[in-house]
Subunit: 388 residues, 2 copies
Amino acid sequence: MPETIPQDSVGIVEPRHVQLAEPLALDCGRTLEQYEVVYETYGELNADASNAVLVCHALSGDHHAAGYHSRDDRKPGWWEACIGPGKPIDTRRFFVVSPNNIGSCKGSTGPNTINPETGRYYGPDFPIVTCADWVRQQERLMRLLGIDQWAAVVGPSLGGMQVMQWAIDYPQRLRHAVVIAAAPKLTAQNIAFNEIARQAITSDPEFHNGRYYEHGVVPRRGLMLARMLGHITYLSDDALRAKFGRELRAGRLSYSFDSEFQVESYLRYQGRQFVDRFDANSYLLMTKSLDYFDPAAAAGDDLARALAPAQARFLILSFTSDWRFSPARSREIVKALLDNHKRVTYAEIEANQGHDTFLLPIPQYLAAFGAYMERVAAEAIPPQGATA
Amino acid sequence: MPETIPQDSVGIVEPRHVQLAEPLALDCGRTLEQYEVVYETYGELNADASNAVLVCHALSGDHHAAGYHSRDDRKPGWWEACIGPGKPIDTRRFFVVSPNNIGSCKGSTGPNTINPETGRYYGPDFPIVTCADWVRQQERLMRLLGIDQWAAVVGPSLGGMQVMQWAIDYPQRLRHAVVIAAAPKLTAQNIAFNEIARQAITSDPEFHNGRYYEHGVVPRRGLMLARMLGHITYLSDDALRAKFGRELRAGRLSYSFDSEFQVESYLRYQGRQFVDRFDANSYLLMTKSLDYFDPAAAAGDDLARALAPAQARFLILSFTSDWRFSPARSREIVKALLDNHKRVTYAEIEANQGHDTFLLPIPQYLAAFGAYMERVAAEAIPPQGATA
């Protein structure tokens, strides 16, 4: 952490753990009898609990969305750019709830936790989870925290898919839905990239059918490949060009298979880093959840019909250089909402950084996101709720 | 092979092998003292050797560009759509020379052949080869066949890069240069995809530092992943959508990690097929050759300056849905040629099939390519050369 905590950070935060004993019926047909959820909160819940904002995380995200865990912490939470005093999700006005989804590997029940029924790691026995399952999990936490209705549910990428699911499944329980850099479903190409990532992991001899914990190994090579591949799809071609171009590490061609172009060593570094902070079984589950998200499927492939129950007002944000979930995909959501005469604001942010732009403090992005959240606060929070 | 040979096929063809004893100095600084080249020819060389067309193959291509090897052969050569009587490269008029590049695995000297100096497989000892090296190799073959000047040098993708190199390195030795679905150099993103493919291969425990031949294994998993990844970049998102959409193999979600969407099983099939027909060390070499191609580098990063020596007239073809080497990349070549006041024809073919369109009999593509080759024939071949 910097010597002094930046003024616009929520500062030191602490994750909380809660054990949920009410069984959770999953889309796959199985039931989790009990499970743990880890979450963080930032800001204060006001007296009538009208200022709560739920943050839904993306594939490799977690509950640690903002602030620092200790004074030694070198990096803040993943969405530090957007959560904090004076930021789009202004913690002087909102009470922010940021849970870790089950199936992930950051503290909530998932493949790398012990299955109480067997006393072993869940590993490959952990059920396939969907966005709808996560939304049910988040609704349980909501009740536990004494919140009846979210001022807004907000999420980028896979998080944005959970936001859509919230609007469909619990229309009365949120006033605003903020969907950033998402899509109404994956394309065949998106699924194909995910499938290669999964194949990379499951074909690693150290995967051991998902029971690698018990073998004291991790499928490093596979997970590293999966992440490298993901990473290309998160960055735009422009961003890679701007960052590396065709620059050579040694200034000249080596005529060898060593990491030679800057972009190669960058990818290898990213892949290696990821192996130390993410679990391969969770990666499999997260990609599968992405593949499965398709709310229109149950409505005769009609996204407008799928979104018809939604009562929330929507903000849809996309980034021009995002080729993973391009602006065209966001416009599909906008169109389906307009076909239903829903209230929707759409902003296409000019940015060169690709899908990962949602993490970055791009002024136009923060301005559009912040202006919308300003309205959310002004409309919904009683004047006494707006404490400094 | 079909029961009867199609009228527009060159029919049964036979590869020829030639041993080249004149040492070949390579860009990497090493020299191949001797090497073998396998090639095929179609059509007849005319009396003044003015009707010869050189075909340069792409990454996984080879010398077998057209026709069938036997009556039992189930598939014709890779460019059957474009080579044959009445096709764009009309074998009634042209004498077509199609060599296999060294470093490949289809018969010319490469990692899967024996190094005469050691009596072992070359494997990882095979030198890194470049487009310029291949052009030198092709020029040797040219002399051997008694050809002074090509009527045209033609190639798609990595083959198109060899065509550019020909025009730069041997400006007097070709009259026309036909560059299809290529680029003046790879982007950082292109290199990143290649790097992941290479990492997939070299991190496979059965790679054995490239000496897998001697271990009686092949890095199947790695090569399969590399091909699956390549395959996504060869097809457009539209093509994948048209082919598979989000169709499920079993008609419903399985909530498991089995191959579930049609696109997944298709990719796995493509990957498995490839392992049986291609060598992992060659795959490494071919991707490296792609990464290294950058004729402008030696001319102060000025492509126009790099292409200044060229004397050939150019046809540049691109496909609208090609996101590997997009039309914008072809237009860079066109612009550099126009800046030099070179004669260039450019056609951007409307096609949904992505980079691999160059393999397909798309009418607009065949028409544009055929019309140009018609002019090549009419201008360059004396009337008596145009035998039926």
